[in-house]
Every structure is written in C-alpha cells, then in structure tokens.
C-alpha cells in the first residue's frame, strides 16, 4: 500500500466492478498500424466514434521501410496496413504522424521525446513495449486489440489491478555496463515470467543514476520479465528532460505540473507485494544465448549445462540451443557474427548511437558484418546529422537508415536471413523474430558495436 503505483492507479479509477475488474481511465492511447485496424473496424461495426479522440495519437512504425521512405512501400500488404491507419485516423479525427512526417518514428521513442508521455499518466498502446513510457513516471502498459477498441470507445479499460513489486539496484554500474545489461541481468535472474502479474517500480542508486534514455531502455524491457509494466518515480532528471518539449505543459501550467509530479513517489511506509534487491557491481556486459530474453549470461560466461536446468524445462532448453546452434557449456566470446542491428524502441535513442560511436571511434566496420543502424525517430535522425555522426559512421563503413521498428521484428524488408547470427540491441531473441530461421543474440549498443568492428562476439571493455 501507499506505493507510487497505487497513487497513480487510484487516481484513475472510475469504478471497481463488483467481483470484477477496475474501470480505469486512460490519459493517452497510442496506436500503430498493426494492432489498430481491427479496433477501428470494431467501432465502425458498432456504429460509434472515438470517445476522446484528442487523447489518441497514431503513427506507423512496424511496417515502415528504413530506406526510400519518399517512395511507395513495395510490399502491398504493408502498404495497405500503413494506408489504413492514415484513413482511420482521418475518419475518426485522430492526430496522425505518417511516414516522413517530422514527428514520425517508433511510438515508444516519439511519445517521451515529444513530451506526450508525462509523469502520473495512464498510458496504453497495442504493443507490449508500452512499458517504456514508465520511465517518465507513468503507469504504462501494453494491451490487445480488443482493449484498444475499448479505450477508443470509452477512454477506459477494464483491468484487474496487478500486484506491486519493487526492484532495487544498489551501487554503481561498472564502465562498459549499461541499462540494457541491467535489464538483461534482471531477466536472467527472474526468467521471462518472474514478474508476471506485477507492476514493477525500479529504484536504488544505479537506477537513479541512469540517464532518461537509460531509464527508457530499462522500463522498455519490463515485459520481458513478464511484468505488466515498469516505471521509475519522476525526479529532477525527468523534469529537466521534459521541460520545453513540444507537448509538455508550458509556463504556469508547467510549474503546477511539476509541483504535482514531485508528490509522485512511494511513501516511506509503502508496502510492496514483492521486493527484490540486486547490486550493480555484479552486472557485466550481457549476451543472450537462447530463444527467450531470460536466457542471458555475462559475456565472459559459458552457456549452462543441461543438468543445471530443472527437468520440466529441459525440452525447451535443448530445443532452444538446437535452434541457436550452440552447445551447453560453450562460451560465446569470439563467435563469428554476420549481422549487427542497432535500433528498436529498446536502444534506438540518441544516447545509444553515441554509445555505439564510442566503440567505433577510429575503427572500421568488419567486412564480414552487415550492420543496420536505425534511429528510433526523425528527431534522433536529425540530431545525428546535426552532430555530424552520420558522416562519422559513413567514414567507418556504416550507414544510418531511416526510422522505424525495422529488424526488431522484421515486418518490413529488414530481415536477418535464415541461419545467420545477429547481435541486436532489440528486445526479443525468439525463434524467427528477426526473420524466419534468424538467430539473435541480444546485447547493449556497446557490445553490438564491439561485434560490428571485430566481426565476432567481443567484450566491449577490452576495446
């Protein structure tokens, strides 16, 4: 009780349904082209409009190509999905940032950077990585398409209140260890279902020390531990990040908002259903070796032996290693890499490109590696250009592509070919996630850059 989650949740309860869920008011609904068409179709079938269209923002991101966005999308099915979103937004009177619009990008990158996601808000989207916006101090979670339709129809959602968990990460992260490693470390400890049923508050010195970009990465990956969402109490860093952003309040409204946001923290007497503490010093650069994000290890470690896996999980474990082409007990250091992907709602922000650049620093892309560097939004892209990073990367043999979800889930042309091994800064290493038969190792931008310049799995701390 008296957790920050309780405070935000309780402030949005319209009613508690008898022997049922809560009717929760939603401040912001984001829609992309993949999980919204059937919701709009549902509204049409029912003959109703969006209840509060001004609280909804749409943009295509999953299908968008990362090159030649000024030309029509080649895949007719992708094109239709992107066009359908534009038509639906127009018909229902919703703000839409289409391809090439300066505000377009991956929703979870655009929302925070434009000041659309604010502390204390309830935020939903038909996308499991909606938890990203929790970094702003908001209660943000992914929902299904029926639920998207619910919010369009009523600006509310019916949800069971999740349990609360606090994860404290004390101490300081070592050099070469990032928010991404922190998240992969948590998943390796908790497994992909360890936080299912919970909403997670991240706290502790190492979390406070993260930049806003780092916090967005950490919250983004909450779903990969099964959590409904994850968030960080807003602080001065949050306010500084949001100040003067396009949709953030201005002038007197801003002062009033900050005054309220400062009250958004868990009480000293807060009681969580579960509380866990980890130490930042225990975390090293992480890589995954299997086909779910919980199958991760320190980059210098070896893949576990079969007999260390609980019996009921062995079939899945062995299937996973067979898919990846790895053996139990194997080390991954020095394994040749075919592809490197920097981007996604997990690591497609400006700081991630700086991190990648810090490793490249005078080195060249390895000739055997195909590298895709995909900014999360046009805002990130423009900043890269402004800072001359595009030229910097070009000189090193890299190319900056146009924004979108890209190879994270390979709905556009950016597919890793079958059998190829990719080091990706994205969020999922599921079978076929980056293309049928593609093999994915999840890692931080530093580790991805180290692989890109050496052509093999390399500890970024050694470069």
């Amino acid at each position: 009780m008296n957790t920050l989650f309780d405070k935000i949740w309780d402030a949005h309860v319209v009613q508690n349904v008898t022997d049922g869920p809560t009717q929760l008011y939603i401040d912001r609904l984001y829609c992309h082209e993949v999980t919204s068409p059937q919701a709009f179709e549902g509204l049409r079938r029912r003959g109703i409009k969006c209840f509060r269209p001004e609280k909804i923002f749409c943009m295509p991101d999953h299908n968008t190509p990362t090159h030649d966005q000024d030309k029509p999308i080649e895949d007719p099915v992708s094109l239709e999905q992107v066009d359908t979103l534009e038509k639906n937004a127009k018909e229902f009177g919703i703000e839409h940032f289409g391809m090439l619009h300066p505000k377009n990008g991956i929703i979870h990158v655009v929302g925070p950077e434009r000041g659309l996601s604010l502390p204390g808000m309830t935020i939903v989207c038909g996308d499991s990585h909606t938890s990203t916006h929790g970094a702003m101090g908001a209660v943000a979670f992914g929902i299904g398409t029926s639920e998207v339709e619910m919010v369009m129809a009523s600006q509310c959602i019916l949800q069971q209140k999740p349990k609360s968990m606090r994860i404290n990460i004390e101490g300081k992260l070592a050099k070469g260890v990032t928010a991404k490693d922190m998240a992969l470390y948590l998943m390796s400890k908790l497994t992909t279902s360890g936080a299912t049923g919970y909403f997670v508050e991240y706290a502790g010195e190492a979390v406070r020390d993260l930049s806003m970009e780092g916090r967005l990465t950490l919250c983004n990956l909450s779903i990969e531990m099964g959590a409904r969402g994850g968030f960080i109490a807003p602080d001065e860093k949050t306010f500084e990040y949001l100040k003067d952003r396009e949709y953030a309040p201005k002038g007197e409204e801003w002062d009033k908002a900050v005054e309220y946001w400062k009250t958004l923290k868990s009480g000293d007497d807060a009681v969580f259903d579960k509380e866990l503490t980890f130490h930042a010093e225990d975390i090293e650069p992480m890589v995954t070796y299997g086909t779910n994000p919980g199958m991760g290890m320190g980059i210098t470690d070896s893949i576990p032996e079969v007999d260390t896996i609980p019996e009921e999980g062995r079939e899945s474990f062995e299937k996973s290693l067979e898919y990846m082409g790895f053996e139990p007990g194997q080390k991954l250091l020095d394994t040749p890499v075919d592809y490197v992907f920097l981007g996604a709602c997990t690591n497609g922000r400006i700081e991630d490109f700086y991190a990648f650049a810090s490793i490249v620093n005078g080195r060249k892309k390895h000739p055997d590696v195909t590298a895709w560097l995909v900014p999360g939004s046009w805002m990130v892209y423009d900043e890269l250009k402004r800072e001359g990073l595009d030229k910097f990367f070009e000189r090193a043999g890299f190319e900056i592509r146009q924004p979108g979800c890209s190879a994270c889930l390979a709905m556009n042309d950016d597919k890793i070919p079958a059998g190829k091994l990719a080091v990706s800064t994205s969020n999922r290493n599921f079978e076929g996630r980056q293309g049928p038969g593609a093999r994915t190792i999840l890692a931080s931008p530093l580790t991805a850059a180290a692989a890109a310049v050496t052509g093999k799995i390399t500890d970024p701390r050694t470069l």
């Binding site: 009717q23 179709e41 709905m411």
Partner: protein
C-alpha cells in the same frame, strides 16, 4: 467470436513446451491483415512449427499428428509470453480451440484469450503434469471444462481441479457479452469522473 461458454468436454492437443511466445503462436509476417478473419489466423497458428522452411508439413509437430485433436490445447507453463498481438488469440480461436489449459499464462495474452471467448484455465503444475501423462497414455482421453462450476476434470483419472475467474468475466463468457458493451453502458460514470477527477 462472441459465443456463449458453458461446459466443454473434448479430447486435447498437448504442447508440453514452456515459454511458448506469441511470435511462435503467430509469426509477425502474418500480422499485416487489416481485418479480423479468424480463419486466416487459424490457418497460420504455429506456422513455423507446423511447416518446414521449404513449405512442407512438419510431421513431428503435434498439430500435424492425427493422433491428437479436440477443442482444448494443453500447454506448458508461461504460455503466450512476449508480444501483445491479439492475433495470437485470434489464431487459437480460429483454429478451433475454445480452451487453453496451462499452469501459467502471460498477462496480456490471457486477457486477449478472454476477450475472444477462449478460456485460459490455470491449473496446478502437478495437475498439468498428470494431464500430459494421461494424454500420452491415451490420446483419446477427454477433459471436461465446466465454467459454471469453474472446474477442469481429467476424465482419465477422474481428478478435478478448480480454476479462478472473476465473477464479471465469467458472466460475460456465459452470456456472450464483451467489455465494450459494459463500458458503453457506463459512459455516464466516465463523464462524471472526467468532471471531478481530472
């Protein structure tokens, strides 16, 4: 599809893998549809496990094994993790499953199943292990899922277990009502909340 749910007695399809994610249930390349045709999604349920990379049928996968059939899918723990795509629930419904039994479901997928009138029934790990064993011993064995009583019964052993579902959702399933019907009826409360609460 909106349909009333009461008691279902059926044979089962066993999938004893853990952490089956929604990318496996329906791969991303099948998410480009703009309509909700369950048959399309059903045809592509577990696509990359059902078919080999060359397009031939993977005879080793349980959905291609004529020994098993029925309206009940029995899956290992943490079923439906990963992406929020409701297409996964449409694929399960479209294939013809009306119940998924597991010891643990991912949150978003569980809601998606319920919103598509597929019942996710959570049983104990012990019950699940016994169920897999019963199906293996006799693929023709049946399971009875009784929503009014909230019970799952392994008809081979006679063992029965209660499952949880909140009273509201149970009422919705039994009467083929969805949440939007409810929320539209309650729009007055939402407007009152906006006046006072925001």
């Amino acid at each position: 599809m909106k349909q009333k749910f009461d008691i279902i007695r059926s044979r089962c399809v066993p999938l004893p893998l853990e952490n089956v994610d929604t990318d496996q249930i329906i791969p991303a390349r099948f998410l480009k549809a703009t309509t909700r045709e369950e048959s399309f999604f059903g045809e592509n349920l577990f696509r990359d496990w059902r078919f080999n990379p060359d397009g031939s049928v993977n005879k080793d996968f349980v959905l291609n094994d004529p020994t098993y059939s029925g309206e009940i899918l029995v899956a290992g723990k943490n079923f439906g993790s990963g992406s929020s795509r409701e297409h996964a629930a449409w694929a399960i419904a479209g294939y013809g499953f009306r119940v998924v039994i597991s010891s643990f479901f991912a949150d978003i997928h569980k809601n998606n199943e319920l919103n598509n009138f597929v019942l996710p029934a959570v049983v104990s790990e012990d019950f699940l292990a016994e169920l897999f064993k019963s199906i293996k011993e006799n693929p023709a064995m049946e399971v009875e899922v009784n929503l009014p009583e909230q019970t799952v019964t392994n008809c081979a052993t006679g063992r029965s277990e209660k499952f949880e579902i909140n009273g509201y959702k149970k009422y919705c399933l039994m009467n083929a009502l969805d949440d939007i019907d409810f929320l539209l009826e309650n729009q007055g409360k939402t407007e009152a909340f906006e006046k006072d609460g925001l």
